[in-house]
Symmetry: C2
Amino acid sequence: MIVAVYQGPSPDGDIAAAFEAIARMLAAAAAAGARLVVFPELYLPGYNHAGIPVLAQSAGGAWERRLADLARTAGCALAIGLAERDGDVLRNTALVFDGTGRELARYRKVQLYGPREQALFVPGDRLCLFDLDGIRCGLMICYDVEFAPLVRANAAAGAALLIVPTANPVPFHHVPRLTVPAQAVNHGVIIAYANLCGPEGDLVYSGGSCIVGPDGAMLASAGPGAALLIADLAPAFAVPAAMRSTQLADLRPLTPEG
Amino acid sequence: MIVAVYQGPSPDGDIAAAFEAIARMLAAAAAAGARLVVFPELYLPGYNHAGIPVLAQSAGGAWERRLADLARTAGCALAIGLAERDGDVLRNTALVFDGTGRELARYRKVQLYGPREQALFVPGDRLCLFDLDGIRCGLMICYDVEFAPLVRANAAAGAALLIVPTANPVPFHHVPRLTVPAQAVNHGVIIAYANLCGPEGDLVYSGGSCIVGPDGAMLASAGPGAALLIADLAPAFAVPAAMRSTQLADLRPLTPEG
């Protein structure tokens, strides 16, 4: 299975530019054989855009219908983060549409990061697993993937591939460079991590998007600038059992103190 | 300027498969905005293919005409390695066609590697520089880029971007991981290094293709498997002067001993 991650600047409220990039990158990746393209967190309307409360759309809204159309047109699945209105509250949501335009997955970020996100959004409280081309996938967003218990829970639920839209700013370069590959190795999963790059308001995103295997080998990784990475997951699925994490089976219970 | 490198298995004599991959990757990269796609060394007919002496074609032959057509069709330049018949001898050659199908550059590998290459080919003896989209480029092949004097000569001749088709096998993982970024930093150039992956005869190629800037930052890099990397060179051109190599100006003459 060939998977792509797109790293680009945040649309910062320019919805037309966002959809233009989504359509172009989907078409390009599909032409190279990709079955899935992962876009960044809150790509609609832009992670750090002030208009999120006004622009957020309910499930089934115009953004989602257009995303479904684009996936169907490209014949390629897409995963993307967007601001979702959920009744009276906002969610930091990620969606997956398959290559026929069908909604495969809807996930609400559990681990909201910092005061701004925590003021804007209500966190989700459940995992999101689904099958794509016969591969069990888990959907997470940004800060979520830094929590070993969450990654472990996805692995325990059978996820082989974790799909992670993100908006990781500088100076947190260690997240794509170190945390993400370490989670892949420790929990025996493939991680496709799609970040933003460049400035948006008071943030500069760190780039470093990557596709990393359960042996920690980067199948593809980006630097600080815009990039489309398209990689065959075959080497990750071929990692021998002896190189794969045994933590899932081996964790021993601790006796509480006292 | 957006540049792509393609990493895939060697065609190993399957010319139809090679052209299918070239056409598909050119179209995909062009759709994402790429102005150049770099393919591996001796991609036609395959680096380690036994039939090189029989299959090698003269300048202007059918392979080259088809490559020019593909570049023109995609509206995107391509750089590729192929086996060239040059009168009575064979050359390990790299060509560049621009997005109109015009031949921009023809380079014969200077530093042939090991007994097999040295028995098959006659080495070239000159640099190859050219302009693409206003950027001064130098063309090298594989082992060439490991020689600091050759990289320095390209930098001294004004090259900002070194284009390097390669066929680097295991266990020489240090070349893309260490040697190539070190040459980029030491000589203040961008390097686009396109390798093969997987087995061909008695070789297994190391992958690790990359696009690296003059500060050593990887703009994109691949792992052990097939990948198409498409990256904007903007961050590499934005590296501040204080971070760029001053070796070109600073090298001091040595007094010979004795």
